[in-house]
């Protein structure tokens, strides 16, 4: 075998992390990180619907399947929806930081990046009591300074990059200083619901206004992904947005996927923090930027 298999607790064939990006009104920035969203009424309504209808539906489902997920939230959304966020935390889910106002971090100076992530961290800490240890960069580009800021602010891990399908360490200081690294739980677009389904005519979202996917076909992709992850002991990180997966015609996808995984009985379900705890003292690959 050329590919290296990661060992998971209990001899599981793969790790499964259910992550939720609680972007609310900021979700259009997934497609266009520089977009002005606050004054677009439709975007706000779509985001609110996700919080009011999608989120409770998703939380109920997670209770039913007895699963803990990892929610990444921009600080401003935490402040806008404190009750909702507390209910997520109270249900035992991990809360991670997703910037402050879903800013496009690569556009900011290193100091401004640090400040935005600090504000995001502090907002979550104020509402939930504990500072988050996980960070997922708001969609849009990031720089090495982003990850340096994340490390400096005391986060344990990032879940923002795509260079592997198992956790690795990003070398922040250039080669030669391998001690200065940040633990990374990689993500892939194919396992994120929004890019398959979001649609808006004006402002156009996504940019080319492609037809939305057929949810059955997306579910099939996710099942192929799960099977592929099991073959090489990979880390299956699902990214969900309540306004998408929590909608009446799509929530079945998550149920069907979880039933499929349960039927195979070979997954280790974990939050980001639990994956970090399992691997932080073990040898993992490194990515030298």
């Amino acid at each position: 075998m050329f590919i290296k298999k990661t060992q998971w607790p209990g001899g599981a064939e793969c790790a499964v992390m259910i992550s939720v990006n609680l972007d609310a009104e900021y979700f259009p920035r997934v497609f266009d990180p520089d977009l002005e969203v606050e004054n677009v009424q439709n975007f706000c309504r779509m985001g609110q619907t996700g919080m009011e209808i999608g989120l409770p539906r998703l939380l109920k489902l997670l209770v039913r399947y007895r699963l803990n997920a990892t929610f990444f939230v921009p600080g401003a959304i935490a402040l806008r929806y404190p009750e909702e966020l507390r209910s997520v935390a109270a249900a035992g889910h991990e809360i991670g930081c997703h910037g402050f106002s879903h800013e496009h971090l690569a556009r900011l100076s290193p100091d401004a990046q640090l400040e935005a992530i600090r504000r995001g961290r502090d907002a979550i800490g104020t509402i939930c009591g504990d500072n988050p240890v996980g960070f997922r960069a708001p969609e849009g580009e990031i720089t090495t300074d982003t990850l340096r800021a994340v490390k400096k602010l005391g986060f344990y891990y990032s879940s923002s990059l795509s260079c592997s399908d198992v956790p690795f360490r990003t070398v922040l200081a250039g080669s030669g200083h391998s001690a200065d690294t940040l633990f990374e739980i990689p993500v892939h677009w194919a396992l994120y619901d929004l890019p398959y389904f979001s649609f808006h005519f004006w402002p156009p979202l996504p940019l080319g206004q492609p037809r939305v996917s057929c949810s059955d076909r997306v579910l099939e992709n996710w099942k192929w992904e799960y099977d592929g992850h099991c073959r090489s002991g990979a880390c299956f990180v699902l990214q969900l947005d309540p306004q998408c997966i929590g909608a009446q015609g799509k929530i079945y996808m998550l149920e069907a996927l979880l039933d499929y995984i349960a039927e195979k009985g070979n997954a280790w379900f974990a939050t980001g923090r639990e994956i970090y705890d399992h691997l932080s003292n073990k040898e993992v690959e490194t990515w030298i930027i």
Partner: protein, 282 residues
């Protein structure tokens, strides 16, 4: 045109072409965006290829006892010498995919030839031999192509064009050269159907990731068409795309089909080009 007799009873020749582009295409793309030289997130999508995807692909090729051709920008040959030597040691062909995957080779024939010479030097240095096959990453001037076509060490060209038939490349004076043109059609490019990044947006219109089962179905139709019309073809597959866990099952299922279909002769581009050239000369 004379119908080629491929190896055994095969009706068509198929070669897995793996473009190990790594970060190059993302870095080159980001350059067009403000501050793009500092972006690391989209580059990480490409880094998946040499860091993880290539190993998964090598496992699949081994499982089905298939030899393939890896088109690698010289920059990546220099950056990942250990991986590239592993690929070579596993019996696969390493072919030339430009210096740094830039679509721009230079503005004069001299500059373009120098660019190609520099990439070939890296191949020689790391692998002990120059590549006999080329998959250019951008257009070359007619004078540059003429020089390449008259170089006896060049066996084949595999361009991303819509051509269906394997043939000899034509020089600018219209004369047929001794360099084989091995088709690589966009129907056999999985990047087009499944690559995704929201920023920089790729594809530009942010189209959806295709259903994997549909992608596989399209590939099988290409193979069936190839067998029907007796053609030769290579793929533009990418470890950073189909080396990801779920998409690698498309490749597995494709290999299963090839293994169970005597109509298809699966070999490296070098083998396909050499056999066809020999059959034309006979």
């Amino acid at each position: 045109m004379k119908k080629t007799t491929w190896s055994g009873h095969a009706k068509c020749a198929f070669s897995f072409g793996w473009d190990l582009d790594g970060e190059t295409i993302w870095r080159n793309k980001s350059k067009n965006f403000p501050g793009g030289e500092t972006f690391i997130r989209s580059r990480s999508v490409g880094a998946f290829g040499p860091m993880r995807g290539a190993y998964r692909i090598l496992d699949i090729m081994d499982k089905y006892h298939l030899k393939s051709t890896w088109f690698i920008p010289a920059e990546n040959v220099a950056r990942y010498p250990q991986l590239v030597r592993e690929i070579q040691a596993a019996g696969h062909e390493i072919a030339n995919h430009g210096l740094d995957h830039s679509p721009f080779y230079g503005s004069t024939p001299e500059a373009q030839l120098d660019n190609i010479r520099r990439s070939q030097d890296i191949f020689l240095q790391v692998l002990g031999k120059k590549a006999v096959g080329f998959r250019p990453t951008g257009p070359l001037l007619p004078e540059t192509e003429d020089a390449l076509f008259s170089d006896s060490s060049t066996l084949y060209y595999s361009r991303g064009l819509a051509e269906e038939e394997i043939c000899f490349c034509t020089a600018s004076d219209g004369k047929q050269t001794g360099v084989v043109s091995l088709p690589c059609r966009q129907e056999l490019d999985e990047y087009i159907q499944m690559v995704y990044c929201s920023y920089p947006p790729i594809p530009t219109g942010q189209d959806r990731i295709a259903p994997y089962a549909d992608v596989l179905a399209g590939f099988l139709r290409e193979l069936q068409g190839g067998a029907r019309f007796g053609s030769a073809m290579s793929t533009a597959f990418h470890p950073q795309v189909s080396g990801t866990p779920g998409k690698s099952l498309i490749i597995e299922k494709l290999c299963e089909y090839i293994a169970s279909t005597p109509d298809i002769w699966c070999a490296t581009c070098e083998e396909v080009a050499a056999l066809w050239k020999k059959s034309m000369e006979e």
